[in-house]
């Protein structure tokens, strides 16, 4: 039960929303799908004077393809795109299949029908599926703030800590862009939860590209083990420059990556067990991504 009253605003344009955010600053919260904010309000963990519901701004809902300055195909999804939209969209499934698969595995149907990508990124839970996937996918987060000032932040630089990111109080996520996954690519998302629909204890995403039987590119991210989801650049590099490129020893490399993670106590599982989970999921995920990419010959 929400006990503290607030003023509810439902702007219909981005400008109007930005004006409200800039007027009320820290005393305001953006409401999108509400799958995190409403529970926080009901637990009376968040008390705020103004709620700015952005769901009536049509520009924030769209899914489309475009080309970046270098001519590469990019997928752009509006901040209000719901998880179930990502899951069902033919465009998303074809252009960035890891995104569609990630969305399909979030929470449960009712959460997916309501939760949005902008909301999930802005909430910045370090174990959230979409936050972790966005890092592996090199997503770019496009924001706009008071006065119409726009900027683009790479997902890898967006998250700053548990439930914290680089957005300012008067800034709004407008859309998120993802490079389309090219041919010869394979992806994998593996997660471990204690209950169906729970936030993951550990979640791992991998995206691999194989050309001529050799690993040409790989991106690996992990969520749930630190203050933010992490990209595992060392492991990626090790896989790419393995002594015998035909058969990189995935288990050893991902095992090393897992043992170098800083893992803190979690009330749900012990740190050593969490590290074991990380090692297992990393190995399985990387192997699956490479396998789906056609495998290394």
């Amino acid at each position: 039960m929400i006990l503290s009253p607030f003023e509810y605003h439902a702007p219909t344009t981005i400008d109007e929303a930005l004006r409200l955010l800039s007027d009320y600053g820290d005393d305001s919260r953006i409401l999108a799908g509400g799958q995190s904010l409403i529970p926080l309000l009901k637990l009376n963990l968040v008390e705020v004077g103004h709620i700015v519901d952005i769901k009536h701004i049509p520009e924030l809902s769209s899914i489309g393809l475009e080309a970046d300055p270098e001519g590469r195909e990019m997928l752009r999804v509006g901040a209000l795109t719901r998880h179930s939209d990502l899951e069902r969209s033919e465009i998303v499934r074809k252009a960035v299949p890891l995104l569609a698969e990630t969305a399909a595995g979030i929470g449960h149907q009712m959460v997916r029908n309501r939760g949005t990508i902008g909301g999930s990124l802005a909430h910045s839970d370090p174990s959230a599926d979409l936050c972790t996937a966005s890092i592996a996918l090199d997503a770019a987060i496009n924001t706009v703030s008071a006065g119409g000032k726009k900027r683009t932040v790479k997902a890898g630089e967006f998250f700053e800590g548990p439930l914290s990111n680089c957005l300012s109080a008067d800034e709004l996520i407008e859309s998120v862009t993802f490079p389309s996954t090219g041919p010869g690519s394979g992806h994998s998302i593996k997660k471990f939860t204690l209950g169906t629909g729970d936030f993951p204890i550990v979640v791992v995403c991998a995206l691999a590209t194989v050309r001529d039987g050799r690993l040409a590119a790989i991106a690996i991210s992990i969520g749930g083990v630190g203050g933010t989801p992490l990209r595992l650049k060392d492991a990626e590099q090790a896989l790419l420059s393995a002594a015998s490129p035909e058969t990189p020893d995935i288990g050893t490399i991902t095992g090393k990556a897992a043992s170098s993670l800083v893992i803190e106590d979690d009330p749900r599982v012990s740190a050593p067990y969490k590290r074991k989970l990380a090692a297992t999921l990393l190995r399985r995920s990387v192997a699956e991504a490479i396998g789906k990419a056609g495998g290394i010959s």
Binding site: L3, P5, E7, L31, G34, Q35, L41, H108, V111, N113
Partner: protein, 162 residues
């Protein structure tokens, strides 16, 4: 309570227009149950986990406990009471035929979630697909096996359209 915490909310519920003044803090669930008089959606956990409060919001199942009534302004809401009059809905009949309920408290939410799933384009009409779609609806009586059968049967007989 001053007027600025109140908002006029106009929406369609089970085909009929509704307009009421809601406290901005009220959930859609409490509003439907207390103000509109529809007690089909149940309050099982009030935290978006059990799914007993599920309703169709513009055709998709959502937890009415996890949204504010004011968020429903301008929306089309369908509760279990609006699905089929006198149990003519095939999905409801299929739940009855397969004994897919015991205490019945979760049943409105189960049927709403199943309806949303069957209506979604490209739904995976297999037992696995149903398990994914209904994983947010807890049945403590443990009727899951029969629920899967009931939804499968409704899917086979044409998506359970009334």
């Amino acid at each position: 309570m001053s007027g600025k915490w109140k908002r006029q909310v106009s929406f369609t519920v089970n085909g009929a227009s509704q307009s009421l003044e809601a406290d901005v803090r009220d959930t859609l669930l409490d509003t439907l149950r207390d103000r509109v008089g529809l007690t089909g959606p149940k309050k099982g956990c009030d935290e978006g986990v059990c799914g007993a409060c599920s309703i169709l919001l513009d055709g998709r199942a959502v937890c009415s406990c996890s949204m504010l009534a004011v968020e429903a302004h301008g929306s089309n809401v369908v509760t279990i009471e609006g699905l089929g009059k006198d149990g003519e809905d095939r999905l409801q009949l299929s739940f009855i035929a397969h004994d897919a309920m015991q205490c019945g408290f979760c049943t409105p939410g189960q049927i709403i979630a199943a309806r949303s799933f069957l209506d979604s384009p490209g739904a995976d009409l297999t037992a696995e697909g149903i398990k994914n779609a209904l994983s947010g609806n807890i049945c403590r009586c443990g009727c899951y096996a029969n629920i899967i059968e009931a939804v499968l049967a409704a899917a086979r007989s044409g998506g359970g359209e009334p």
